[in-house]
């Protein structure tokens, strides 16, 4: 059916002039009590960590870049994966981890195939305290598949990237959206892939990663 006729039918059923703009709307987004909460940097980070861990996500807090590089390297030693993949060099990495990626011969997105990697290493745009969520705005060298296909996802992030609510993250996404539109793909991830489809038995790692480990660098609310 043609778009104009389809929309005209809806408008006529609603008794509206087709395409006329709605009047002012009172209820947009979350209720005021939710939007107007004020939290400190420390509270946000603590809530984010607690919520993310409650969803079976893992957090490694690091007090310096050197400590984060060491922790990432340790984790890879423990996993000892046959193949490692990572975002490309020009992706928006919150922390420079090139040294570790080089050491482990990580396949770089955009240069080498990543569809069969065992461990995927990425940055993130935001952490969300309310829901224990990491937000990955994908595009260019920040490929979508790097964190979607492997069994283990390692993500590096700074504490200053943790916001209170999903709404805060969405508002920030809109602010930075290039030429007025969002990236083609934004992924909100709250812990490992899970299912209860077999006799209600909770299990992880169905399609996405079975482990998500977040390396969180301490910094102030003002960011790097």
């Amino acid at each position: 059916m043609d778009k104009t006729a389809f929309l005209a039918n809806i408008a006529s059923r609603l008794g509206r002039p087709p395409g006329s703009a709605p009047g002012r709307r009172d209820a947009i987004g979350v209720p005021d009590f939710w939007a107007h909460r004020r939290t400190s940097h420390e509270e946000r980070v603590a809530t984010f960590c607690a919520r993310f861990q409650a969803l079976a996500g893992e957090i490694v807090r690091c007090d310096s870049e050197a400590a984060l590089l060491a922790a990432l390297d340790e984790a890879l030693k423990a996993l000892n994966p046959p193949s490692v993949g990572a975002w490309g060099k020009h992706a928006p990495w919150p922390v420079n981890v090139e040294k570790v990626l080089e050491k482990w011969g990580a396949r770089r997105f955009g240069e080498q195939p990543v569809l069969d990697i065992d461990v995927g290493i990425t940055g993130a745009s935001f952490g969300v305290a309310d829901t224990g969520t990491i937000v990955l705005a994908c595009g260019d060298a920040a490929g979508r598949t790097v964190h979607q296909v492997p069994l283990v996802h390692l993500v590096v992030m700074r504490e200053s990237q943790v916001v209170q609510s999903l709404g805060d993250a969405m508002a920030r996404l809109r602010e930075v959206a290039p030429i007025g539109h969002l990236p083609a793909y934004v992924h909100f991830i709250s812990g490992p892939s899970r299912s209860s489809d077999i006799e209600n038995d909770q299990t992880i790692g169905v399609h996405g990663p079975a482990r998500v480990i977040c390396f969180l660098l301490q910094d102030s609310a003002d960011g790097p």
């Binding site: 389809f6 509206r16 595009g139 979607q148 609510s165 996404l173 083609a184 992924h187 909100f188 991830i189």
Partner: protein
């Protein structure tokens, strides 16, 4: 489907299946209890429901505007938007895409709309292999069945049955351990994602002012379906719209909390058009199929427009005493439970599913559970009224209500009827109850005691008391 049998016949079959009833009880109890816990912890639940209802109402009242805005934004980003009046038109769109792409294999994530238009059957007729990737849907598909719960489709399957199905699909040395079964599904379905020509998903919410599609899953399957194949087709009912990204936050809380009692969904994909220039992955081509299929008939109808506010969480199923007893298949429709009983006859618009509004106790638990406060129980009553107005009702029922009106409109006739009934019950009433399965009472006394009429009506007692007072 199932147009020949009635919900009563199908319910009888379901009531005889002990595993099914046990599984449905267990699952619905679990989901309901978790929902209660998570909403208490979250707080202000009624305020969130009010907000959800207000946003949905506003959106549907201005649906033409928001749909146009959504479609314009998406088209600007290079996606193809198709408006389809009915299932036939939607299937024709898919046929064209399949032919243009010479597609052989399609991977799908859960979408009730595609069930509604019987998409899988159509694709198979075109010679295309369709693979459902949601673990529950995959199990149901291997069994050649349909989902029995909106959120947990394979609620009715045992792990032994699942193991047998996976073995028939090529699984070797499987045990009935969940880990083993899931590991097999992961391997098997991964091959499918990587070799599929087209990925088909539903759409939980479409955001008008950004032209985005929001997909919610716990398994992460929709995210792979949307991103790995070269072509992504989204199916959405035309009412799935939200005006702004800010509104999505409300529903990112309402949906998972209501559906499974989770504080948050594991994966939320926000997709805004096909891959951009410079993106190294993601679909090259994106189609969005927007379906009416009986929905626009509800617009402007003060009794039923609110049914389009539904966000398909399934919370009404989990609290429904009827669903609890008979499970999803007994409804015989794509949408089961209270929302299915309301929606199925409305979308169909014909004679089919007219018996579903009667498969309810009208207790209103569905309304209490609904995150956007749809008055489902009122709608069920109105559908019954419409049905009776259209068909004239049953002769016996009409006669009974005519007699009821005559008897209860006059206190002498009422008292006479009570006295007659008291005399007639004499032989059957024992210890204050009637157990005999006689006449129209048998439907009740078959399983329960019927309370016998007292020795005295309230009126008689009152008159006697008054006389006594006067004497004393």
């Amino acid at each position: 489907m199932n147009t020949k049998s009635s919900v009563r016949d199908r319910a009888k079959v379901a009531l005889g299946d002990d595993f099914l009833r046990g599984a449905v009880h267990f699952t619905t109890d679990r989901l309901r209890n978790r929902k209660q816990a998570v909403t208490e912890d979250f707080g202000h639940w009624e305020a969130w429901r009010d907000r959800g209802e207000a946003i949905r109402r506003h959106t549907i009242e201005h649906l033409d505007f928001y749909l146009a805005q959504f479609a314009d934004n998406l088209e600007r980003l290079g996606a193809h938007v198709h408006f389809c009046a009915d299932a036939r038109e939607a299937l024709d769109v898919v046929t064209d895409i399949v032919h243009t792409k010479a597609a052989r294999r399609v991977v799908k994530s859960k979408s009730m709309v595609t069930e509604e238009i019987h998409l899988n059957h159509h694709l198979e007729e075109l010679g295309v292999e369709v693979v459902e990737t949601d673990l529950g849907e995959y199990i149901v598909q291997l069994a050649g069945e349909t989902p029995s719960h909106i959120i947990i489709p394979a609620i009715h399957k045992t792990r032994e049955q699942i193991k047998a199905l996976f073995e028939a699909d090529g699984g070797e040395n499987l045990t009935t351990e969940t880990r083993d079964l899931v590991a097999f599904a992961r391997r098997r379905l991964r091959e499918m994602y990587l070799t599929a020509d087209i990925g088909i998903t539903g759409c939980n919410f479409a955001i008008a002012d950004t032209g985005s599609i929001a997909l919610f899953t716990n398994e992460g399957n929709a995210d792979l379906v949307a991103n790995l194949p070269k072509t992504h087709i989204v199916f959405m009912g035309m009412e799935r719209i939200l005006p702004t990204l800010a509104d999505l936050e409300v529903f990112a809380h309402l949906l998972p909390k209501s559906a499974t009692g989770q504080n948050t969904i594991t994966y939320l994909s926000l997709i805004t058009g096909p891959r951009r220039a410079g993106d190294g992955d993601g679909p090259e081509e994106m189609h969005v199929v927007i379906l009416d299929n009986g929905r626009s008939r509800q617009l402007g109808d003060p009794d039923f427009q609110a049914v389009l506010h539904c966000i398909r969480c399934g919370a009404c199923l989990n609290v429904c005493p009827v669903y609890r007893q008979i499970g999803g298949h007994a409804y015989g429709s794509v949408y089961p439970g209270p929302i299915g009983a309301v929606l199925s006859p409305l979308l169909e618009g014909g004679e089919a599913y007219q018996d579903l509004p009667y498969a309810s106790s009208l207790c209103g638990a569905c309304y209490e559970a609904c995150p956007v406060k749809i008055p489902l129980h009122d709608m069920l009553v109105k559908e019954r009224q419409q049905f009776v107005a259209k068909t004239g009702g049953k002769t016996g029922e009409k006669a009974a209500f005519a007699a009821y009106r005559v008897t209860f409109a006059d206190h002498r006739r009422y008292l006479g009827a009570i006295r007659l009934a008291r005399r007639l019950q004499g032989g059957f009433a024992k210890g204050g109850v009637i157990r005999a399965k006689i006449g129209p009472l048998a439907g009740w006394t078959d399983r329960r005691d019927f309370p016998a009429l007292g020795q005295q009506t309230f009126r008689e007692w009152w008159m006697e008391r008054k006389r006594g007072t006067r004497r004393g």
